[in-house]
Amino acid sequence: MIALGLEGSANKLGIGIISHPSPTAEPHVLANLRHTYNSPPGTGFLPKDTALHHRAYFVRLVKRALYQAHLTPADVDVICYTRGPGMGACLTSVAIAARTLAALWDKPMVGVNHCVGHIEMGRAITGAQNPVVLYVSGGNTQVIAYAKHRYRIFGEALDIAVGNCIDRVARALRIPNDPAPGYNVEMMARKAVKRRGKEGELVELPYAVKGMDCSFSGILSAVEALVGQLATGEDDERKDRLKFSDGVLVTPDDICHSLQETIYAMLVEITERAMAHVGATEVLVVGGVGCNERLQEMMGMMAVDRGGTVFATDERFCIDNGIMIAHAGLVAYETGVQVSIEESDCTQRFRTDEVHIGWRDKDG
């Protein structure tokens, strides 16, 4: 069976086509296209502009995906779209496009939970059986474990998502949004390590873990308060410039490094706690922040210490994409799930644990 997946919950428009040759065979990716809306440095992407971007690129991306997969609309069995969570205007634009295709081509539809899409794609690509999942992106921070047909949320961010924290620190430091703010922060952090030697030096930032939950807004506020005191290359003789204990000036690179070390330590800690709690040895990292190599490295060190394994995917599957929506939609469709056009709604708030996971065994 072949599914077309349509994703546009945030600033990426993703169109994917997947084939499940048989229930037991490996899924086969036929096309996985993405177009990203980037706003200028110092700004974030606004719902209205982002939705406009999705509407502008939707048709040409679907056409190109079909062309790449050597398919015609007649070959598609089901149309899968992101039902939520995400930004309202963006979700609506893609949902309307999905309904249009379903009506034009006379195809059934499946509405997919975006988070479940990430998890199912991560499992399919890495082969992780029953992992604890860390789902980290611009809008979501969750530690998830599977039990009895639900992805249960063990821990989550209590305020802003980790990716949102990184993006907004990047905005405060005027770091470009292209190709992605998080990627640029990662590169600057590496420079800081190189400059200071060894493992670099940290500026002390708040560390807020409550059980398996965590909080990032305090870190953002702390960084925003420091921005005016950082070395800029001009006026660095000024008394108010922030310095390390050895008198060396603190640069935006050092802030990026401190930010990464602090927030990833928090994420690894809550993941480790969830693993200890459910007795799991596998951990799967998904979501846009999951392609950060420092996070993957830290998670790997934790997993090795526990005698476990870490699974991660690269940017094709970590960052929002259409293929994960196609895949998760198709596994649901194969168990009989589908929606009519009249029922094909979307919603900004849609929790991972609301979805009945009918395609997995009771115990994983």
């Binding site: 249960r152 949320i153 209590l158 070390e261 800690e269 210490d305 929790r351």
Partner: protein, 241 residues
């Protein structure tokens, strides 16, 4: 707890039995001070994944905080493991040994044997345990301590089988001193979530914990009310209307 004794460091490796590897710490059973004093030795090994300066900062802060909270509870007459010794640079804390099982074990054993029929006559037993848990948490909150990581794995029941026996809260690694309604409610929320995710068939039992908790100390009812607010607050909760 007038004096903290200088420990024989390092501990004798032949006298260490690993009990559990938590997320944070390794807990060993050993003896301390005298060969006949059973002791839980909690070692926080350096986390290799963490930046060394952050690791040292967190280890120090957490060992000191844990010891302070435990001493405070003991002084106020709340049953917790007594502090026998600590070294925050080397990262260990020696505590009184609590004999028994975790509530998680006891509850899983019970659910296996009886199914989830908590309404039956045997159900009284499990409700009793939930009630004692509620009371123990209320006592903690009543003396100004918030645990920070309440799960059914962090509460012991002092018995070898069955559900009878005193309930002792352990692992104060994330505990803080606070009398804020907010902090107390989040404490309960963490427990509720751990409860639902570890014992999904026994979701209803948490109500019994709350029922007894609400009568535990002055202000407990307000905290239970606040819990409703905290529950609403999780991200991406569906909102009707």
């Amino acid at each position: 707890m007038s004096t903290i004794h200088i420990p024989p460091s390092p501990f004798n490796p032949s006298d260490l039995t690993l009990i559990t590897q938590g997320a944070e710490a390794l807990v060993y059973k050993t003896t301390f001070l005298t060969p006949s004093t059973p002791t839980a030795l909690k070692i926080r090994p350096p986390k290799t994944y963490r930046h060394a300066s952050l690791d040292a900062r967190l280890t120090r802060a957490r060992i000191l905080a844990e010891a302070r909270v435990l001493v405070r509870c003991a002084r106020e007459g709340v049953r917790v493991p007594a502090v026998l010794g600590a070294d925050w640079e080397k990262g260990w804390l020696a505590l009184e040994w609590i004999a028994g099982r975790t509530v998680r074990h006891a509850l899983d054993g019970w659910l296996k044997a009886h199914g989830d029929d908590v309404g039956s006559s045997e159900g009284l037993e499990v409700k009793g345990l939930m009630g004692r848990m509620g009371k123990a948490i209320a006592q903690l909150h009543g003396v100004g301590v918030v645990h920070g990581d309440l799960t059914t794995s962090n509460v012991m029941v002092e018995s070898e089988e069955g559900l009878e026996g005193d309930v002792v809260v352990i692992d104060f690694g994330l505990a803080v001193m606070s009398v804020q309604e907010e902090d107390r409610a989040v404490d309960l929320y963490v427990l509720e979530r751990a409860f639902v995710s570890t014992h999904p068939q026994a979701e209803g039992l948490f109500g019994e914990v709350l029922r007894v908790y609400a009568d535990g100390y002055k202000g407990a009812k307000g905290v239970v009310k606040k819990l409703d607010e905290v529950r609403q607050r999780g991200r991406k909760k569906s909102m009707l209307g």
